[in-house]
């Protein structure tokens, strides 16, 4: 399989962020956003095509996980936290 292009990487990154934003729970949402950003930033300089391929696969799996967990989160939604009231998104 050919190495992922940077366009593919960026597309995955965007999809991960978009999915993370859907978490209803404040702490999970902020964590997911932060973790995705930090993971991409930490691996910014990975050039080895094999490593990129592995990371992309990992990202795809994370995306699927996020989608599943977001739907579960939506099923059992709870009250907003004090902070969310103060700074409406």
């Amino acid at each position: 399989m050919a190495a992922s292009t940077s366009a593919q990487v960026i597309s995955l990154y965007r999809m991960l962020l978009r999915e993370s934003k859907k978490f209803p729970a404040y702490n999970y949402r902020t964590y997911a956003l932060r973790r995705v950003r930090d993971a991409f930033r930490a691996n910014r300089n990975v050039n080895d095509p094999k490593a990129v391929e592995r990371l992309m696969e990992e990202g795809e799996q994370t995306l699927a996980l996020l989608q599943r967990q977001v739907s579960i989160g939506k099923m059992y939604e709870t009250q907003k936290t004090i902070l969310e009231e103060k700074t409406p998104r």
Partner: protein, 536 residues
Amino acid sequence: MLKVTAGSDVAVSGRSVITAARGSAYETKTSRSVALLIRLRTVRLPVTASAAPGASLCFSVVLCVPGGLPGQTGSRFSGFLSVFSGSQRRCLPRAGAPRAACSGRWSGFMCGWEPRREPPHPANPRDAVEAGELRPLYMDFQATTPMDPRVLDAMLPYQVNFYGNPHSRTHAYGWESEGAMERARKQQVADLIAADPREIIFTSGATESNNMAIKGVARFYRAKKRHVITTQTEHKCVLDSCRVLEAEGFDVTYLPVQKNGLVDLELLERSIRPDTSLVSVMAVNNEIGVKQPIKEIGRLCRSKGVFFHTDAAQAVGKIPLNVTASNIDLMSISGHKIYGPKGVGALYVRRRPRVRLEPLQNGGGQERGLRSGTVPTPLAVGLGAACLIAQQEMQYDHHRVSMLANRLVQKIMLELPDVVMNGDPEQRYPGCVNLSFAYVEGESLLMALKDVALSSGSACTSASLEPSYVLRAIGADEDLAHSSIRFGIGRFTTEEEVDYTAEKCIQQVTRLREMSPLWEMVQEGINLKSINWTQH
């Protein structure tokens, strides 16, 4: 010792007990409680307690003691009093409070405190959502942690489709469960602490692991060894297991710790006797977060031929642990402290040199006969996933938690004078910040900070007003032990949460100090230690 029963003498509540503190032991058995200070100056005051039932407001409580407190000849009273009372309903003076009793001379008044609001307990969480109620922030990561979504994701298949008994050897349902359980044991739990998978025993949590390790080892070797060493700052389940051993005729040494919360290695060495079977020292303290010198203790125990057990519930997955490098013989692990599920834990039991224990639970002989009972596959898988994630995220989490903890401490320390951080400043896990706010009563502060889920110590003892035994063991003054709050920071804490907590904390401490007579005296330059308290 001064002791006033409230029903007759005090307008505070029907069932509360007032007990004099300061240098004397508490004598109350009431569970929930609030300590209030009595103003030292004798003041004449009318009854100022007025509050509509159910309202949450600040009010002063007036002691109405005709002719002085029992056991006293005069009515003048000075001392350090604590009122212990129950929920708000009990704290609020009833309409028919014994006002007649108020004709006597006033002894003093107590300073402000807000009664704890009845926690809203909607039968259905959705009711709360619809009612538009807000949730407090969670800053109590030492009590428990929210489950990581990745952990839940790993567990769910085993809660729905793969329901086989992992000990069933005759069909595929059993095999798939067994496979998942063994994967969790090997690749995840064992790898995190550099152990062999055969050394991991799944249990119901760190309490069971601690019980198993301490009672199990002591009882197995009881013919020759009758001595166990632990420290005064251990978790209650360790101390209680030791108490049981004492009742069985074992000798237990409860080592004091130094001012910084660390064990004195020389003292430990001196305390080891030829008939010592076990030394149990926790890796990271649950209340003050200090990190014990596990490596040094392990080396010492190995050289003396004594087994070393460490309760690592608060340490696993947060700091690097290696059972081989640290010569740990037994180690307790908890699932719900590392973003895993509640109700599962593990005990590491060394195979070479072999540690033997007497099982607490007998039955089908699961877990090498040490812990009979079907292993809950979904929980074991959850613990495994939590360990795996903890290993991957340890550095990232540690970096972040340290940053947030520094942010919190610096913000508070910069704004507020007389704040003491309990425990060693260097040898600690940063996510557990225990601060003492001098001249502020910890319980009052917790109630004032109802937007933030905090605690004054361990969750197990959060129902009592007793000052934390951990803080007393590190030699904190009674007043400081009463005014401590534990801030727990974890993987899911945000900068905004830390800022909000710090801001609220500063605001409420300032407010409570303004009300406190002790703070006023300190501002006037009176040395509180020089006061001759009359009630002892």
